[in-house]
């Protein structure tokens, strides 16, 4: 696909999917990209990255379309993570 889509169009077509955008327009200040060309998309992240790894462009954006999809009754708590050196 080479058609440049607006973010509204992307959200309608690829809701709850991961998309890789090329030729994208994503101002630093904004939450979502304004537009882009969808090169790869999938609802399965492992499959998505498999496709992203093929003929990878030099400039792309990886976006999950839609709101965070946390499983019901799960509280996501990424904070308080530190890195500990491994000792031989």
């Amino acid at each position: 696909m080479t058609t440049k889509l607006t973010w509204d169009e992307i959200t309608k077509l690829y809701n709850k999917e991961y998309v890789e955008l090329t030729n994208y327009d994503w101002p630093d200040e904004e939450i979502h990209p304004r537009s882009g060309v969808v090169r790869v998309h999938s609802s399965d992240r492992a499959e998505f990255y498999k496709q992203v790894g093929k003929d990878t462009p030099v400039d792309s954006a990886i976006v999950f379309v839609g709101k965070l999809a946390l499983p019901k009754d799960v509280i996501f708590s990424p904070g308080l993570r530190r890195v500990v050196a491994n000792h031989a």
């Binding site: 630093d28 792309s60 990886i62 709101k67 990424p78 993570r81 530190r82 890195v83 500990v84």
Partner: protein
């Protein structure tokens, strides 16, 4: 002063960052996470830009409040650009975020980067002001 938007209705504040490596650059969504000591990015994104795990990569363990467990590696990227600032040769932890596959999160912008900003966060309005 610059203003950045985040969705106040999301469970977590999200920002985006441009990661550049020898094979290219990827823009990805990260959690603005001052409780994370070192910025962490899904290892497959780092591979995409040519900064995947190498034989000489430093191996580390990610430790959290629920204990240690997640293996990771440290890799320098050419640059990390976020919130209007560029950090050359930033060291990033590459982590397999597969178990968060349904979260839509590709990494955590950690305190190592956040501490370098003077910022004001308006949660109800979803505005992050950087001075």
């Amino acid at each position: 002063m610059r203003e950045y938007r985040f969705d106040p209705n999301e469970e977590l504040p999200l920002v985006h960052a441009l990661l550049t490596g020898p094979r290219g650059q990827v823009r990805a969504t990260l959690v603005f996470d001052s409780g994370c000591g070192l910025t962490q990015v899904h290892s497959q994104i780092l591979e995409t830009i040519g900064c995947g795990r190498a034989p000489n990569s430093k191996s580390v363990t990610i430790s959290g409040v629920t204990g240690e467990g997640d293996p990771a590696f440290i890799v320098p990227v050419k640059s990390l650009h976020t919130l209007g600032a560029r950090f050359d040769h930033a060291e990033i932890a590459g982590v397999d975020f597969s178990k968060w596959a349904h979260s839509g999160i590709e990494g955590l912008l950690g305190w190592d980067i956040i501490r370098q900003f003077h910022f004001d966060m308006d949660g109800p309005k979803g505005i992050l002001r950087v001075f």
